[in-house]
């Protein structure tokens, strides 16, 4: 079998190490994601979902344990390489959109490329516009985020996450802030990119209805994996 996309092995995360209020949030997580997998991460509030997502997203390092991306151990990498890995391998979609308010929709989508590859070329600009058209914002290319609705902002965020065609997109409650209709739209959009370009998604969600539409459901309870099931009976996206 080929190398998994990511592999966590006995990962623990402790906050407040060395103080009186030392708290272990994750207790030895083993998790592998295959390329192209469309996975839901569910669990009650405070179960450590966001922490796990931050670890997978290389936003914070595990306290102990091993985390490999495409076979590469990340725990020992210097900050510079971690940052580079984040840029090339991971896309982020956050609950509160987290667009850069000072930049237009197109510029937001261009930002990861600007960071990773330097000054923007006309080709990259065109590709960013194409992505925005694909998420249905062809008529809002140069709008600032505050001029867009929540659903529209989240579409921009998805286009941005996909702009460097990363193998894995991490989404932290991407629909949590949207009405049902918009939430469905966003979910379908992610599904479409997953099916078309083989991008793997790891989606944290509270919404059991959405989780049921993923390929695999990982359930986290009290900082440990309580369930990990392939969802063969998934509803059509």
């Amino acid at each position: 079998m080929s190398e998994p996309l990511i592999a966590l092995d006995g990962v623990r995360k402790t906050y407040g190490t060395g103080t009186d209020i030392e708290v272990e949030v994750l207790h030895g997580i083993d998790l592998e994601l295959e390329p192209g997998e469309f996975t839901a991460l569910v669990g009650p509030s405070g179960s450590g979902k966001s922490t796990l997502l931050n670890l997978v997203g290389l936003l914070e390092p595990p306290t102990t344990g091993s985390y490999r991306i495409a076979g590469r151990e990340t725990a020992t990498l210097p900050e510079r390489d971690v940052t580079a890995l984040r840029a090339t391998h991971l896309g982020f979609v956050f609950q509160f959109h987290h667009l850069l308010p000072a930049f237009t929709a197109t510029e937001n989508v261009l930002m990861p490329g600007l960071i990773a590859h330097g000054p923007i070329t006309p080709e990259r600009r065109e590709r960013a516009r194409e992505l925005l058209r694909e998420v249905g914002l062809g008529d809002r290319l140069d709008y600032l985020p505050r001029k867009l609705s929540g659903g529209q902002q989240q579409r921009v965020a998805i286009a941005r996450a996909l702009s460097l065609a990363p193998p894995l997109v991490l989404a932290d409650e991407p629909t949590g802030n949207l009405d049902t209709h918009s939430a469905d739209d966003i979910f379908r959009l992610m599904r479409r990119f997953n099916e078309r370009s083989g991008t793997a998604f790891l989606i944290v969600t509270h919404d059991p209805r959405l989780a049921q539409r993923c390929d695999r459901i990982v359930e986290l309870v009290d900082g440990a994996i309580a369930g990990d099931v392939p969802n063969r009976a998934r509803e059509p996206g």
Binding site: E60, E79, H98, I115
Partner: protein, 409 residues
Amino acid sequence: MPFEWVVALRFLREGRLQTALIIGGAAAGVAVVLFITALVQGLQASTIRRVLGTQAHIVIRPAEEVARPQREGVAGETVLPHVEARAQRLRSIDQWQAIEAMLDGMPDITAVSPMVSGPAFALRGDASKSIAIFGVDPARYDRIVAVGEKLVGGAFRLGPDDAVIGRELAKDLGVGVGDRFRILTAESAQPVASTFTVTGIVDLGVRDLNRRSVYVAFRTAQTLLALPGGASQIDLKVAELFGAETLARRLEARTGLTVESWMRTNEQLLAAISAQDISTRTIRAFVILIVAVGIASVLVVWVVQKRREIGILRAMGASRGRVQRVFLLQGAIVAAGGSLIGSLLASAMLFVFLRLARAADGTPLFELIAMPAWLYLAAIAGAIAGGVAAAALPARAAARLDPAQAIRM
């Protein structure tokens, strides 16, 4: 445009009020620093110019002649010498041509002018006035003391029988340009006084000098003062006005001659000027400090406000270093903008000030020795360095933000 520039410029554009505040602060600071510097420099320059208008920066003279006892004491023998100090006769500097050539080749010396000077009498009709003869080469001497600029009549031209004399002396002798008078020196071989034609009348700005100064040709003075082929002193002008004393000591050690700088002969003036210098520097340092603290404090607030954006940028793969550079760049950009505006402001202030500030007689209180371009460049470069330094702390704070935490905000 690279990432850092794109983000820095956009952040600046987005936070217009903060940007305007910092740029305004930097502009005010740079304007004050430039204005004070230019003002004090102009003031000092004109004071020094007035004082040094009639003096060389450095004067080289022959070493004083010392009388030595003829007989050295020998052990077991008592000698009771009576050594009289020697009267200092007018002498030429030994090998003055060689020394002149050496001085001409030194980069920190901008003008060299040998001179033969000594006492004499000016005679016309029944009047006889005690004078000082300055035998010079007009072209060379004009670069030491700008006699040409101080003429009230005629020209600074010295043929073998020409003389340029002070205004009061001309009045005393009752001569004008083109008139003749005679000069009598103690050293003249023949007691007959030579006749000179007045080619120019000069106002040296000091009445006493005007009463006794007579410029004649170098060779003429050699003859008059019986120093054929000699030079009794060499006048120097230096590039670094306040380096004159150091240079003088160096020259003295090198030549063994008596070397005196203007700083030695005008110690009072110098003390006043250096006191002024210290106070200007203090004011400047405080202004710079205040502006830097202002820029830093606005940027600190800015970093706090931008925490989420910084987190997003970090999540998208921007390294700590790049985030830090964004804020350093912001500091540099606002400082550059502020210093440009400040320079314009300072120029305008100086222009107005020069118009308003006039002495009692209506002439400008002081002339500004054209605000040098390097002063502007130095101010702008200094401001940019200061802006980056001021941004260092906020930039570090931004780089240290934990992206996971910043995003959760």
